[in-house]
């Protein structure tokens, strides 16, 4: 019995202790998949954010204090993301959230953020619902409705497609959002398309791909993450499916492991590493020096998001949630790597879409579509 009492009080004590914390830095939280099959994305966001923070600190910090990035792993799972959010707000007492990375996670966290009034600037979540009816939630990237329709316009006009197959992940808000937007644009242009859905636990897409092969489509739109895209393209190739594939910004980084099966295909992105502007080239150079690899679009977006949030905080003059949110609403951040960031009434910026083609495993800018 004594042991039980001792054990219980130890637990409670440790519980209480872990509640202590707090320091004199300004803290931005980051939520993304840091481990697992999507870690490529989360780590990019974390690295981009930390690079920005390091530069800002070298320049005097935010409101005279050091900027600290606290990153937690969502594993790409909305439930984990919610846990991470709670920890960031309760334990680490963050002043702002740069996250989530995935749309699905961000949607799950959005309700909580709205209740808390926390300033949220997601660098990469593209699902339109993320900023809907949420005054304190903003994003640094374009939305899926925009991305999907630009991809459709590209397929229809540049690739002269008349009948597309849309192959998407029904278990993912991002994939589904893009698929629907693509389809809507085809509808508006009276073009034919068919939807083929798979689930997140599926590994074998051969049944779907055989159907697609037999259906006579001239383009396959595959808005998914690299883990799925790689598998699909590998199986497509071995089945002899010889049709151009078009993807979304989730494809960025596919050349790392899947260069040969993705050769000659296209995807929508937020920027191109090869853009000659000073801002982009400086960013790429600094990132490569720090992390020994080239930055993908997510890293660039995270970098921009941190700078944008820091600038809003400086303009607000405090870390008070409501003040920062107000400052974000009137923000006009010009020198972003991915294009200027200023928000419409929803919290969405007006950005351009870059269509990239993979040639010999290298990103080549195929075309750039400016915002309308």
């Amino acid at each position: 019995m004594k042991k039980l009492v001792l054990l219980t009080s130890t637990f409670l004590f440790v519980f209480a202790l872990s509640a202590c914390g707090g320091s004199d830095a300004v803290k931005f939280g980051v939520i993304g998949p840091l481990t697992g099959e999507y870690s490529q994305y989360g780590l990019a966001v974390e690295n981009g954010a930390k690079l920005a923070a390091a530069e800002i600190n070298a320049d005097g910090g935010v409101l005279g204090k050091d900027l600290e990035i606290v990153a937690y792993d969502s594993k790409g799972d909305p439930a984990e993301g919610v846990q991470a959010y709670n920890r960031l707000v309760d334990q680490d007492e963050i002043d702002a959230l740069i996250g989530g990375t995935f749309s699905g996670v961000t949607l799950a966290v959005k309700e909580l953020a709205v209740q808390d009034g926390l300033p949220v600037l997601t660098p990469t979540a593209t699902n339109p619902d993320v900023t809907l009816n949420a005054d304190n939630v903003f994003r640094a990237c374009y939305t899926d409705s925009y991305q999907g329709s630009v991809a459709a316009v590209f397929a229809a006009e540049n690739l002269e497609s008349e009948k597309a197959a849309i192959l998407f992940n029904r278990d993912d808000a991002y994939s589904e959002g893009l698929a629907k937007a693509f389809g809507a644009e085809y509808d508006a242009r009276s073009l034919e398309y068919d939807e083929f859905e798979f689930g997140k636990d599926d590994d074998d897409y051969s049944a779907l791909l055989s159907n697609i092969k037999a259906g006579g489509y001239d383009v396959v739109f595959l808005p998914a993450y690299i883990a799925e895209v790689g598998k699909v393209l590998t199986q497509a190739k071995s089945l002899g499916l010889d049709v151009p594939f078009v993807g979304g910004d989730g494809w960025d980084g596919i050349e790392e492991s899947y260069a040969d099966v993705a050769e000659g295909f296209y995807f929508a992105n937020h920027y191109a590493k090869t853009d000659t502007s000073t801002v982009v080239q400086d960013f790429v150079a600094n990132y490569e020096e720090e992390y020994d690899s080239a930055p993908n679009a997510l890293a660039a977006l995270a970098y921009d998001a941190v700078y944008a949030m820091a600038e809003a905080m400086e303009a607000a003059g405090s870390t008070d949630y409501a003040d920062v949110v107000a400052a974000l609403q009137s923000l006009n951040y010009q020198d972003a790597v991915t294009g200027s960031i200023s928000f419409d009434s929803n919290g969405d910026p007006i950005k351009s879409v870059t269509i990239i083609k993979l040639v010999n495993g290298v990103h080549v800018v195929e075309t750039k579509v400016n915002a309308s």
Partner: protein, 294 residues
């Protein structure tokens, strides 16, 4: 018609993998009445071993050598697990053995996570990716290899069990352990052999799986393991031919459901099949009806 045949081949492809795994389940169950939940993890380790021997060695190894070495390592692993975890529980209540198997499965998954990391290893092609063209059809080289090698090894196993002395000993032990001891059979060794053979085939399945689906991760064996288990029950648990047929059938059913209905009902249908089998013919397609002794 062409599409139908292509889907059939897809089904046989998936089915080969399930069949290889199912055989392992069924052999172990036949001999010690244990559902070796950890079998899916042997498959997963097989995939990792193949990756290591193919890409991480200082020298280049031919494809077939990689496969053989992988199977040998997996066999050793299977025997080790049996010795460490299951041997003590041969006389224990079935519930304890089952729980231990579940625990072993979780343990191996997380061991792999620890050793190999959470980021999936992407398998580069081990054989040419050029399809084989026969008239109208083009089949992937890998598909031909998967179906072909699976059938080859399973025929080999069947011959082994039917014609050789250790094979007959295996059948004897699964029929009546006490009588087998009386006949002078070293039961421990036969059980180890069973685990070795089952694990080797399971690992082969893992290699094919990795080559087809490129991502090697610690949870690779969970879902295929479960489905192969359903296949083993469906075909008749304890019956090797039943496991093979069950595996191919489940593979084909799965593919046709994905092709003509939707992949979202695959799990429900496969497990529904399991439940129907257990309710109406628990001995499966080829199993014998065993009356439970009072």
């Amino acid at each position: 018609m062409d599409l139908f045949i292509e889907q059939l081949i897809n089904g046989l492809n998936t089915g080969s993998i399930y069949a290889l795994i199912a055989v392992g389940y069924t052999m172990v169950y036949g001999i010690i009445r244990l559902i070796n939940f950890a079998h899916g993890e042997i498959m997963m380790f097989g995939a990792y071993f193949a990756f290591i021997f193919a890409f991480m060695m200082p020298f280049e190894l031919p494809f077939l050598v990689v496969i053989v070495i992988t199977m040998i390592f997996a066999a050793l692993m299977g025997m080790l697990i049996e010795r460490v975890a299951y041997k003590r529980l041969r006389t224990a209540p079935r519930i304890s053995a089952l729980i231990t198997a579940i625990g072993m499965s979780l343990f191996l998954q997380n061991l792999a996570l620890l050793i190999f990391g959470a980021t999936p290893w992407v398998m580069k092609p081990l054989i040419s990716t050029e399809p084989i063209v026969i008239g109208n059809f083009s089949i992937a080289r890998l598909t031909v290899l998967t179906i072909g090698l699976s059938i080859f090894f399973m025929v080999l196993l069947t011959l082994f069990v039917r014609k050789t002395k250790p094979g007959k000993a295996m059948r004897a032990v699964s029929q009546d352990k006490e009588a087998a001891v009386l006949m002078g059979i070293n039961v421990n060794r036969i059980i180890s052999l069973t685990f070795a053979l089952g694990s080797a085939l399971g690992a082969l399945a893992g290699v094919f799986y990795a080559m087809q689906y490129t991502n090697v991760e610690s949870t690779l064996g969970v879902l295929p393991g479960l489905k192969a288990f359903v296949a083993a029950v469906f075909g008749g648990i304890g019956n090797i031919t039943g496991a093979m047929i069950g595996g191919y059938l489940i593979g084909i059913i799965e593919t046709f459901v994905k092709a003509y209905i939707s992949s979202k009902w695959v799990d429900a249908i496969v497990f529904g099949l399991l439940i129907l089998t257990l309710l109406f013919k628990p001995s499966g397609l080829l199993g014998k009806n065993e009356k439970e002794k009072v």
